[in-house]
């Protein structure tokens, strides 16, 4: 049984089911209870689950992450919401130094999910409500990082994240929240972390992307199929840590051409890791250099004219793919 719901509703569904199934799961964050969160993701949760399981906190990202970590250590399964991914910077230290190292240092699991709306909106959210900070966390051993691109994955990956015995950074793509609807299984739905999705099969080139950019890559592939009769394979990573190297390498082995697309700043973005890996591991199979298309090395500007210049989109991806295929 499945139904068509939005990306946002899928997240809500995963959390609601987890909270119904497992009394250890609770929510903690700013304005998530009465207000239902700035994007209303937790709308109605206070009514259903009460103030002990949907906890509004003061403005304190460090303490939110620290406290969620402590609760996880004594058997709870907290889901912390950071209001915007940009503000994770204010709770950066506990995540990268404390939470991420506990299991390595003394063997205690920290089953914790940190949810945050991430990425640009194509609607002038500006430099502090548009960031994609996944590369910071990918560089930190001990954190898992998830960036779903579809409603079904949003539900399935969040369910897996909540059940995972490790801290998981779950970066929700706010651009997709209400814009993207899709078939989502109604009952229990788990998508394992670390398994990529072949969003579209193709033979001429591979696009590797995740989050909103996986969605855009699908649109670009459609454009190329329609307009150029080029068959693009789209690999949606789904999770950044762990990431599915095997799926990427298999696809590149097949197509011989790869374009990595991400929305974060180009320099030292996670896509560089993918490119470096492909370049090293698939050297002999490559018919063209691994291409990269990413956000600019500038803050994310507010004005739509500049924001559009900043962001990769289906047209830019299609153009890059045309070049790649023509190489």
């Amino acid at each position: 049984m499945s139904h068509v719901i939005s990306y946002l509703e899928a997240i809500r569904e995963a959390m609601r089911q987890a909270m119904r199934d497992d009394e250890r799961v609770f929510l903690i964050g700013e304005d998530i209870a009465t207000y239902g969160g700035v994007y209303k993701v937790t709308d109605g949760f206070l009514d259903e689950f009460g103030p002990r399981r949907v906890i509004d906190t003061p403005i304190a990202e460090n303490a939110i992450i620290g406290a969620a970590t402590g609760a996880a250590l004594v058997g709870m399964r907290p889901i912390a919401e950071i209001q915007f991914a940009d503000f994770i910077a204010s709770g950066f230290d506990p995540l990268v130094n404390m939470t991420s190292t506990i299991h390595y240092r003394w063997g205690q699991p920290v089953p914790l999910v940190v949810r945050a709306p991430a990425g640009a909106t194509w609607a002038s959210a500006g430099p502090f409500h548009s960031q994609s900070p996944e590369a910071w966390f990918a560089q930190v051993p001990g954190l898992k990082v998830v960036m779903p691109a579809t409603p079904a994955d949003a539900k399935g990956l969040l369910t897996a994240a909540i059940r995972d015995p490790n801290p998981v950074i779950f970066l929700e793509q706010k651009y997709l929240y209400r814009r993207l609807k899709g078939e989502v299984p109604e009952g229990e739905h788990v998508v394992p972390l670390g398994v990529a999705r072949i969003a579209r099969a193709g033979t001429d080139a591979t696009v590797i992307a995740y989050g909103t950019m996986a969605h855009k890559a699908e649109l670009a592939a459609q454009l190329l199929a329609d307009e150029d009769d080029i068959a693009i394979e789209v690999v949606d990573l789904r999770t950044i840590v762990p990431w599915d190297r095997a799926a990427v390498l298999a696809s590149v082995a097949k197509t011989g051409r790869a374009l990595v697309v991400y929305e974060a700043h180009r320099t030292a973005g996670f896509g560089a890791e993918i490119c470096a890996t492909i370049a090293e591991e698939a050297f002999a199979q490559l018919d063209a250099p691994v291409g990269r298309l990413a956000g600019l090395d500038t803050p994310v500007p507010a004005h739509p004219a500049m924001e559009a210049e900043y962001l990769p989109d289906e047209h830019k991806i299609a153009a890059a793919l045309r070049e790649l295929v023509a190489f």
Binding site: A63, F84, S90, G126, P127, F128, P301
Partner: protein, 340 residues
């Protein structure tokens, strides 16, 4: 420190004009002509106006997003504010950022960012520089009561205290931090009482009484200027609209709004001016008309400005060598617009 008639007129003017501009912006946003989201200071105008007027010209201030009046006091022109709101190429942020994140060192304004309350530690550093250079200058900064829950707030207040810098910290306690009421941000009775725990001066003032706010701020500014160190001032007020323009604020009890509606800072000063024989309906009508003219002209001027070019996005990530602030004098700096 009694206020002259001209001082009082100025306070009234700035508060009224703030509101007129924010009302204009509200309409503009409704027409979809704004870049970014609108946050206003409706009902809190007394605080930025009362405080910013306590500063001298070469003091520096780091305002927050509701402090329209503080910008006006520092000489920001209404058309500049609308240019900023519309994200115009020649605006303070040149379309790269939005809202009242306008920085302008010529006017002693530090541009805020969304992360709260990141201007506060920066203001500590501004004040520290003044102290290190033996300049009789003061820094002032503003933040909401919700922002006092953050680590940045505490580190900065504590450092200001320990380094004994000339800084005035204005807490605008408007009862709400988005949907979170003050009593769920902190459990102490007041913010002001924290001052003594930090070993600094503190004060609590009716934030809707612009004259009281001004007097309190002036005292703090004088203390700071004369080497008396930082002050933490809590201005008690109420956020009379939603958090931003898209927030209907259904979580705010109507009684609370009603109780505060009768304490509107503009009405209160006007009533006093009237009672003192300094104001009447004719003057009021004239000011309203004047302000309407200013706002309309400002919107028109801003609207006629050029929009950013897509390629502008690439400019200005780094400052270039020539551009450096090469002076440690009291005027501090040469400013280059972000769009330059």
């Amino acid at each position: 420190m009694s206020l002259s008639n001209d001082d009082r007129y100025a306070l009234y003017h700035y508060m009224r004009l703030s509101r007129a501009i924010e009302d204009g912006a509200w309409a503009l946003a409704g027409q979809g002509r704004m870049v970014g989201r609108l946050y206003t200071g409706h009902g809190q105008e007394a605080i930025p106006v009362g405080c910013a007027t306590a500063l001298a010209a070469d003091d520096v201030m780091a305002p927050m997003y509701r402090d329209m009046g503080a910008h006006l006091v520092r000489g920001m022109e209404p058309w500049e504010i609308f240019a900023q709101y519309m994200g115009k190429r020649g605006s303070s942020n040149a379309g790269k950022d939005s809202g009242l994140h306008m920085g302008d060192m010529k006017r002693g304004i530090i541009g805020m960012i969304s992360v709260l309350p990141d201007s506060l530690p920066v203001a500590v550093g501004v004040a520290l520089a003044f102290r290190l250079r033996d300049e009789a200058r003061v820094a002032m900064t503003f933040f909401g009561e919700g922002s006092t829950s953050t680590g940045a707030w505490h580190e900065a207040v504590n450092m200001a205290a320990v380094l004994d810098v000339p800084l005035v910290m204005i807490c605008e306690n408007n009862g709400w931090a988005l949907s979170t009421p003050a009593e769920r941000e902190f459990r102490g009775a007041t913010i002001a009482e924290r001052a003594s725990a930090y070993g600094i001066a503190g004060a609590r003032v009716d934030g809707n009484d612009v004259e009281a706010v001004h007097r309190t701020a002036r005292e703090a500014v004088e203390r700071a200027r004369s080497g008396g160190g930082p002050t933490l001032i809590e201005c008690v007020t109420m956020r009379m609209r939603g958090h931003s323009i898209i927030d209907p604020a259904e979580y705010v009890p109507p009684e609370q709004l009603a109780a505060w509606a009768v304490r509107d800072p503009i009405d209160r000063l006007r009533e006093r001016l009237v009672a003192d024989g300094l104001w009447d309906d004719g003057r009021e009508a004239a000011m309203l008309a004047e302000h309407k003219g200013i706002v309309d002209a400002a919107i028109d001027r801003a609207a006629a400005m050029e929009d950013p070019h897509p390629q502008d996005v690439y400019e200005g990530v780094f400052a270039s060598d020539g551009q450096t602030t090469d002076t440690a004098t009291s005027d501090g700096s040469t400013t280059t617009g972000a769009g330059a």
